[in-house]
Symmetry: C2
Subunit: 316 residues, 2 copies
């Protein structure tokens, strides 16, 4: 692969998706394609991988179909708590926010934490000051809500009551709708970003893997950039994103094998389900998942952009 | 090393400590020794590594000399926000709490999250419900405060004003006073626990590496258990604790070399300062640091317990 070309991959979650027909799936393909176009515009202009992944994730956060930003799922208290993380492979600088309630675009909050530089992970008590200092747009919580997500909460809570257990596994569309992006820019730098509303009916205060460096997000120019989606707790315990890096650096694997083994040999044995997108320092993209499907898209400079949910790719 | 023997190591922080004479240092040695005795009592009775590290860390949280629980540092708003994490190497189950304000013993909160099993990392919005459900002791915030920590905050804030920067690096005693413990029990299982008040004058909402699985805490029976202390942001970006594991599993190193290289080759180049305690699956203990000193203690079954701040160990 030409070292001067860019690569970009995005995801919109993985899970027990069943095919709902081409017409119903078209908006998801369009949403993923829009996210690719946003990141690609940055990369094609010679911009940084960091700016590209942020641009792609903002697009996915703004799309109500995906579980991040507008369209985020509800927690057990019928509220939204949003997590996001971003990492720059050039410097290994990182920024992340957990449990946000008012930031319109949580990934912009994560990017502000990265630029700010005073900390890496900021909890909800820092939200107002962060927004003020960095001029981030804040919204009423109703901005994040959609009728579809409320229906999902009601269904999961009804089931949970019936089963007398808290059940996060309702058959209510994509189970793990986290969004994310990874990129390599023309300068050879890598970056990753991940954003999520978490899991429907989650315990208030629960933080998933998305804002955890080394779990749901990681980037190092020496190896790869990774964004994950799945049963967050398993991804945290397996340190999934750093595990991909470690299998490349210490184990000598390429990005495809490292990504696949990290998912199947580190996350899988814990019972974890989901997937990830990764880009290697050489620009190669890997997108393994151990669920029925994963909303994903990718583009390498000079090729057509593609999106997919199951096995077959749609060229744009 | 006999596979049926236990090992235990604890730390009470690392940093730009300068020797203050034997009399002034005696209480720190005594505090570390008490923490060893608490964990050792569990291990000698055939108890689990998990229970042992929790017992040791509770002892350190209760001691006002160390920056965790009673004696925790203040954030920039003159409040306390407490983080803790715990991991069981037997199952790779983990629990952690971030930004706690009322839990008397944050490590007990982390252990409750682990037992609860619904999530791994719980933020402050889950604190009250967690305490209620698991019968955890809650206290007024004044319980955590000590005159010494308030004086440190005043000194750092005065310097920060003078320098027109937020400066976490005041020469005010141990800079990174996180506490932690790692153990191997007689059954060959490993565990790690870490707890902290964070950094003096920290940005409200800032979460450090202590409650981050793979950064400040990690345990896997296949490799090692790790508890870290230092400039948390660098430890998060380097995924320090998982990096020790990865260098053993994928790189074939023993725990001593893996721990040393993780600190010096992964954290060091980012500018990170601090140290860690680690115990390998074979029971060997490693305690590297790249600062002037690290408050630490260790005991292996059949040997005397030792504590140290600088190079020389004190036998108990």
């Amino acid at each position: 692969m030409n070292p001067k070309t860019y690569s970009l991959a995005v995801h919109g979650g993985a899970g027990t998706i069943s095919s709902s027909g081409e017409a119903a799936e078209a908006p998801y393909h369009a949403g993923l394609h829009d996210a690719l176009l946003a990141g690609q515009a940055v990369l094609a202009a010679g911009g940084s991988a960091l700016d590209a992944v942020i641009a792609s994730v903002i697009e996915l956060e703004d799309c109500p179909l995906f579980n991040a930003g507008h369209g985020a799922v509800f927690n057990a208290d019928e509220e939204h708590e949003l997590d996001a993380g971003v990492m720059d492979g050039r410097t290994q600088a990182a920024g992340a926010v957990a449990g946000m309630r008012t930031l319109r675009n949580p990934v912009s909050g994560a990017a502000a934490v990265l630029r700010d530089g005073r900390c890496v992970l900021l909890g909800v008590h820092g939200e107002a000051a962060l927004a003020r200092r960095h001029g981030l747009v804040q919204v009423e919580t109703s901005y994040f809500s959609t009728p579809n997500r409320l229906a999902q909460l009601r269904m999961v809570q009804a089931r949970a009551h019936a089963d007398a257990v808290l059940d996060h596994d309702g058959p209510v569309g994509p189970r793990f709708g986290t969004v994310g992006a990874v990129a390599r820019d023309r300068h050879g730098h890598l970056a990753a970003a991940t954003s999520t509303g978490g899991m429907t009916n989650k315990m208030p205060g629960r933080v998933g893997d998305s804002p955890i460096v080394g779990a749901g997000v990681y980037a190092d120019d020496a190896s790869c950039a990774v964004s994950a989606t799945g049963t967050g707790e398993h991804f945290i315990r397996a340190c999934l994103a750093h595990d991909v890096h470690a299998r490349m650096i210490y184990g000598g694997l390429d990005v495809a094998l490292a990504a696949s083994r990290a998912l199947h040999e580190s996350v899988g044995p814990l019972g974890g389900q989901g997937g990830l997108v990764a880009v290697g320092a050489d620009g190669h993209i890997a997108m393994p998942y151990n669920t029925a499907g994963m909303y994903r898209g990718w583009v390498c400079e000079g090729d057509a952009a593609c999106t997919a949910i199951f096995g077959e790719a749609r060229r744009h």
